[in-house]
């Protein structure tokens, strides 16, 4: 603004002049912010992406000791029909020793009749460390093992050993009949 001063001379009342300059500057900044908003927000998920978010899985065809993988929102969902031995192992753990303390029951949802069904375990099959897909029936705790950086999960999908910070995530799901679950 130094040029303004030299050419204008300083005979102008400064407060009025400053007010105009500041008001213009502030208005320009508001405009730039308002323009940036849509340019940033366009990268959030589009409404068709958000809408395509639920799937139904029929668990009646699963047999004891069997696991299926279903793709949901671009990630695999593990659905495992656990054996009595696996359920017992999951229940016997002292949760005080866990990195991410959670009882096995907290990782289940009520079935259509309203009771917890420990046989069917539903999880998002993505390692909470860096997002690899763990291998089933593997690792030191008979649950899942992530080959990327060696995280061991137990038969309830809880982190027991290795770098992962959290248990395998339970998605939002519910039984919509005796045998069908709806994820999302």
């Amino acid at each position: 603004m130094s040029d303004t001063h030299t050419i204008d001379g300083d005979h102008e009342e400064p407060s009025r002049r400053d007010f105009i300059y500041i008001a213009t500057g502030v208005t320009a900044a508001i405009g730039a912010g308002a323009l940036a908003w849509p340019m940033v927000m366009q990268m959030t998920a589009a409404s068709d992406t958000l809408a395509a978010g639920s799937i139904e899985i029929d668990v009646s065809k699963l047999e004891e000791g069997q696991q299926i993988k279903v793709l949901w929102r671009g990630k695999p969902i593990f659905v495992r029909y656990r054996t009595p031995k696996e359920i017992a192992e999951a229940d016997s753990v002292d949760i005080a020793t866990l990195r991410d303390p959670q009882t096995d029951n907290e990782r289940l949802v009520p079935d259509f009749a309203g009771a917890l069904n420990p046989k069917i375990l539903v999880m998002i099959g993505v390692c909470t460390h860096f997002g690899c897909i763990p291998i089933g029936e593997a690792g030191d705790f008979d649950g899942w093992y992530c080959p990327c950086h060696g995280s061991h999960y137990d038969t309830s999908g809880r982190i027991r050993k290795g770098p992962a910070p959290k248990n395998l995530v339970i998605p939002e799901y519910a039984y919509i009949s005796d045998t069908v679950i709806k994820v999302g």
Binding site: M1, D3, T4, I7, W37, P38, M39, M41, Q42, M43, T44, A46, S47, D48, T49
Partner: protein, 417 residues
């Protein structure tokens, strides 16, 4: 970039940077570039064009995040952008309307240069770089118009690439090379998308040269005489940043009018129909900014001749600095040439009007029949070339120009600028 620098680094850090990379100096000198003090609003279009280019690149990069360049999905993905992507309707509209605004501004900028003789020594290269930018803009605009893959996109691309087929001997193989197939199709769309993404950065580089050139030789001005001393100039900032800023505000209102209230006014209804190689639209019309050239193309019955004339209409702009023989730059002091310039301006609109209509329809009813658009476009084409190739050279020799003021400051004081 030229002249001596006024920048004096104050702080130690500034001094440290200035010794190693004088980037702050460059910025400060840029902002304080001495500009003639008599520039009018027509000189704001340089700034407006810089804004248009930035806006197009920004919205274009965003659209490319959501767009799918395949014949199968292109049309759908544009609809998805307009319906499902957050603010997609706004950004898509800004980009499509922005192309028109860009051309509107560039035409005003060019006519301004023409009127004030901004192409004359020592600004020949400045003008030629500008013509190169215009050419690159036309290519970018054409490529971009293909991408939505509507009926006009497809058939426009078919017609334009057909030009190359008219070249003797190599035409057909050249056309096939260009399309990547026998006709406009998936390979064409994908390469057009790639090039449409590339060219704006070429334009940006050319704009860099253009700005460099204008800073080297200095801006021309409405009275077209050289800057004589410091008194004739004002610092670019804040004087012209604020004047251009106001002009940009007004320009943005026109822009917003189209984006928000008339988003389809500049487009064509047929482009809301998916490209269909089996059906040609009843009238293939290019975007409005190509209409005058389209009229020149159709003014002659011979295909190759028409194409050569059309390209000639652009080539003639490149050699303009050597066609105009007058020593006086500004048409303010060239009363005769000025009148012919106004006719030229009018003829450009007439050519645009012709380009928008069927050649055999009646343009000017006279008695039973009347003059068809074909004949009108012939008159327009004739005048277009006569203006550059005959009037400008000859008028430069024979015209009696008005006396030039001694200096810009004197002209201002006498109320002549």
């Amino acid at each position: 970039m030229s002249g001596h620098s006024t920048y004096e680094p104050k702080y130690a850090a500034e001094k440290w940077i200035d010794k190693r990379l004088p980037i702050i100096r460059m910025g400060v000198d840029f902002m304080h570039f001495p500009s003639p003090r008599n520039l009018n609003y027509w000189y704001a279009f340089g700034g407006i064009l810089a804004l248009c280019l930035m806006s197009q690149i920004l919205t274009g990069i965003i659209l490319a995040m959501h767009y799918t360049p395949t014949a199968e999905e292109a049309f759908n993905s544009v609809q998805r952008i307009r319906r499902d992507v957050p603010f997609g309707w706004l950004l898509q509209s800004m980009h499509a309307v922005g192309a028109s605004m860009f051309f509107l501004a560039v035409y005003i900028h060019m006519f301004r240069g023409l009127f004030y003789g901004s192409y004359k020594a020592p600004r020949e290269l400045l003008w030629i770089i500008g013509c190169a930018i215009y050419l690159a803009m036309m290519a970018t605009g054409f490529l971009g118009y293909t991408l939505p893959w509507g009926q006009m996109s497809f058939w426009g691309a078919t017609v334009i690439t057909g030009f190359f087929g008219a070249i003797p001997f190599v035409g057909e193989s050249l056309q096939q090379w260009l399309l990547g197939g026998y006709s406009v199709g998936d390979p064409t769309l994908q390469r057009f998308f790639s090039l449409h993404y590339l060219l704006p950065f070429v334009i940006a580089a050319l704009v860099g040269l253009h700005v460099w050139a204008v800073h080297h030789v200095g801006q021309n001005n409405p009275i077209g005489i050289d800057v004589k001393n410091k008194e004739d100039t004002l610092s670019f900032h804040p004087f012209y940043t604020m004047k251009d800023g106001f002009a940009i505000g007004v320009f943005l209102m026109i822009f917003a009018l189209f984006v928000f209230y008339l988003p389809d006014a500049l487009g064509h209804a047929d482009n809301y129909q998916r490209a269909n190689p089996m059906v040609t639209p009843p009238h293939i019309v290019p975007e409005w900014y190509f209409l005058p050239y389209y009229a020149i193309l159709r003014a002659v019955p011979d295909k190759l001749m028409g194409i050569m004339l059309m390209f000639g209409a652009i080539v003639v702009l490149f050699v303009l600095p050597w066609l105009d023989t007058s020593k006086v730059r500004s048409m303010r002091f060239r009363p005769t040439t000025r009148r012919f310039f106004y006719i030229f301006l009018f003829m450009c609109f007439v050519l645009g009007w012709c380009g928008a209509n069927s050649p055999d329809d009646i343009a000017i009813p006279m008695g039973e029949g009347g003059m068809t658009f074909k004949w009108l476009s012939r008159i327009g084409t004739l005048y277009y070339f006569a203006f550059f190739l005959f009037l400008l050279p000859v008028l430069g020799w024979v015209e009696k120009t008005k006396p030039l003021p001694d200096s810009i400051t004197k002209a201002i004081n006498d109320g002549e600028a």
